[in-house]
């Protein structure tokens, strides 16, 4: 089955001076996929994501995101959503203000935003929070709202940076269910994390080490291949192997 690719990366190289941050990365991400992107600090993850989000240009290689290459960052930015633990919503604005702000940033009109906001709040059973300041909401609800806002403009791809680290188990389940639901609508979900149990939720997982992709497959296939009981174990195996050979 030939699936539609929303991200195509071929021989991506990014150098900072003589330092090679990304060394010939090649991978594809398919429409509606939940794609996990793992790696230790300094493995080159952040660099690659900055390129995919149109924030930085590759030194060489081909990068297509939502059909546009990295030389058209403006087009890419229109078609992606982004959410991280550190930056999500404005605490001093209400829930509705935040949604309107983000909708507005992505060029939606108030006419489009209003009914969508209502639908969104209804779906999350958050109707009563519409006029509440974000800052006064419990962290779990904030987190879910942040994700809903990141996909509010129906991007083709949404990038999540450690989306559920530090949330309680119930919220985490609900959060992942939202992610599944989003993916089933055809929105690709690109997740980066240090936390391997988060990786287990992904359809496919990529592990980076020293600027290179060292593994890319479904979590179960990877576990089998490396004879590991969890992605965490597998990750450590790969990382240690590397340091020993290095």
């Amino acid at each position: 089955m030939e699936r539609e690719k929303v991200i195509e990366v071929k021989d991506l190289v990014k150098k900072f001076g003589s330092f090679v941050a990304n060394d010939h990365l090649t991978f594809d991400v398919y429409k509606g996929e939940i794609f996990g992107f793992l790696g230790a600090n300094g493995a080159g993850k952040t660099t690659a994501i900055r390129i995919l989000c149109g924030l930085s240009r590759p030194t060489s290689g081909k990068v297509l995101v939502a059909g546009f290459d990295a030389n058209h960052p403006e087009e890419i930015k229109k078609r992606i959503g982004y959410m991280s633990q550190r930056f999500s919503l404005y605490n001093d604005l209400t829930v509705k203000d935040n949604i309107e702000l983000y909708g507005g940033i992505y060029g939606m009109t108030m006419k489009e935003i209003r009914p969508r906001t209502e639908r969104l709040l209804a779906k999350l059973s958050f109707n009563q929070y519409g006029d509440t300041l974000i800052g006064s909401l419990p962290p779990g609800i904030k987190q879910k709202l942040a994700f809903a806002v990141a996909v509010f403009h129906d991007p083709e791809i949404v990038f999540l940076d450690e989306p559920t680290s530090g949330v309680d188990p119930i919220t985490r389940r609900q959060f992942w269910e939202m992610i599944y639901e989003t993916a089933s609508r055809g929105i690709t979900v690109f997740v980066t994390t240090h936390y391997m149990d988060e990786a287990e939720y992904c359809d496919r997982v990529t592990i980076m080490n020293e600027g290179m992709i060292v593994a890319l497959d479904t979590p179960s296939a990877l576990r089998e291949k490396y004879n590991a009981s969890s992605i965490e174990e597998l990750f450590l195996k790969i990382a240690r192997q590397k340091t020993e050979t290095a």
Binding site: G42, A43, S125, V167, D168, Q174, A239
Partner: protein, 317 residues
């Protein structure tokens, strides 16, 4: 003598109750973990333990010394690593360490043996300023700084948050090493899988302790048999499991108050369920096939800490 004894600790910030009647004991030489999400009250509890906050109610002693009245004596015994690694970003590795050593009235040389296994990993970078270190190296430096005065107890507030998996594993190995030196270690983490590294753990949520025990006993405390169901389309599997005739109340995105039987919960690449009494696992597969999900698999599994946490949270609500 117990290293830490806490009796009915309660703490409020204005109207918000951060800690609600928390009691626990940590034995001397134990590696004790507080496991719970952000906002559970871990940081407040730790700040009370290190004498930085006077609790609104209750009392806590460390080695028999009260955290409120005997704070002066206590401060010499505690090695503390706050949630944000407390390093001077503009000072070098060596300068940070020397500074903390002097502040605690000791020298780097005096206790070098204690921090050696940790410090030697960052020693090659000792001239580098702390702000330029990677997360893992900062973590090691912060731990070295907390250890420099040979404390009797180490209190580490989320030392592994934001640090990569390799560094985290190394970190837990270091803690095991320190335990052998006889240092009591109290550590907090939002990551359930790290719980297994502790001698005993307390599950904490919304300012309350849900349970305290060894990780194994905690896992055994799960009240029912647990099964993992696998199917390539996890979302479809999840929604189908909910709408199977067996499950009267689905678990929607927002929590629901009615009881339900299957409690399907996404867990990594599978969905965890519990079965109503008398239902066999095969019946689930059959029902799924009828619902259009052929070829799903089901296996009985040992509950993890997170499964137990989830169950306790639901019970608490």
């Amino acid at each position: 003598m117990a290293a830490v004894e806490a009796y009915n600790i309660t703490h409020r910030y204005g109207k918000v109750t951060a800690l609600d009647d928390v009691s626990f004991t940590v034995d001397d030489g134990e590696l004790f973990g507080f496991i719970g999400p952000d906002g559970a009250g871990k940081t407040t509890l730790f700040r009370i333990a290190v004498t930085l906050i006077i609790p609104s109610g209750g009392r806590m002693t460390l080695f028999g010394l009260n955290t409120v009245n005997n704070y002066r004596e206590l401060r010499n015994l505690i090695g503390y690593m706050p949630g944000k690694f407390s390093l001077y970003q503009d000072l070098s590795v060596e300068e940070n360490l020397n500074f903390y050593a002097t502040v605690f009235g000791t020298t780097l040389k005096e206790n070098y043996h204690l921090i050696e296994p940790i410090y030697k990993q960052i020693e090659p970078y000792k001239k580098r300023i702390a702000g330029k270190l990677s997360g893992g190296m900062k973590q090691k430096l912060a731990l070295s700084c907390a250890l420099i005065h040979k404390p009797k107890i180490l209190i580490l507030d989320e030392p592994t948050t934001g640090v990569d998996a390799v560094s985290r594993t190394e970190f837990w190995e270091m803690l095991s090493g320190l335990k052998h030196e006889g240092i009591t270690i109290v550590v907090s983490t939002p990551y359930m899988d790290e719980a297994l590294r502790c001698d005993r753990i307390a599950l904490i949520q919304s300012g309350k302790i849900l349970g305290i025990n060894t990780p194994d006993n905690i896992r055994r405390s799960y009240s029912q048999k647990l099964y993992a169901v696998r199917y390539p389309d996890k979302y479809k599997l999840l929604t189908s499991l909910r709408s199977l005739p067996l499950a009267p109340c689905p678990m929607p995105i927002a929590p629901c108050s009615e009881p339900y039987t299957l409690s399907p919960e996404p867990f990594g690449d599978s969905v965890h369920i519990t079965l109503p009494e008398g239902t066999k696992p095969e019946e689930i597969l059959k029902a799924l096939e009828t619902a259009g999900l052929p070829g799903a698999t089901i296996t009985e599994i040992v509950p993890g800490i997170e499964d137990v946490f989830l169950e306790l949270m639901k019970k608490d609500e």
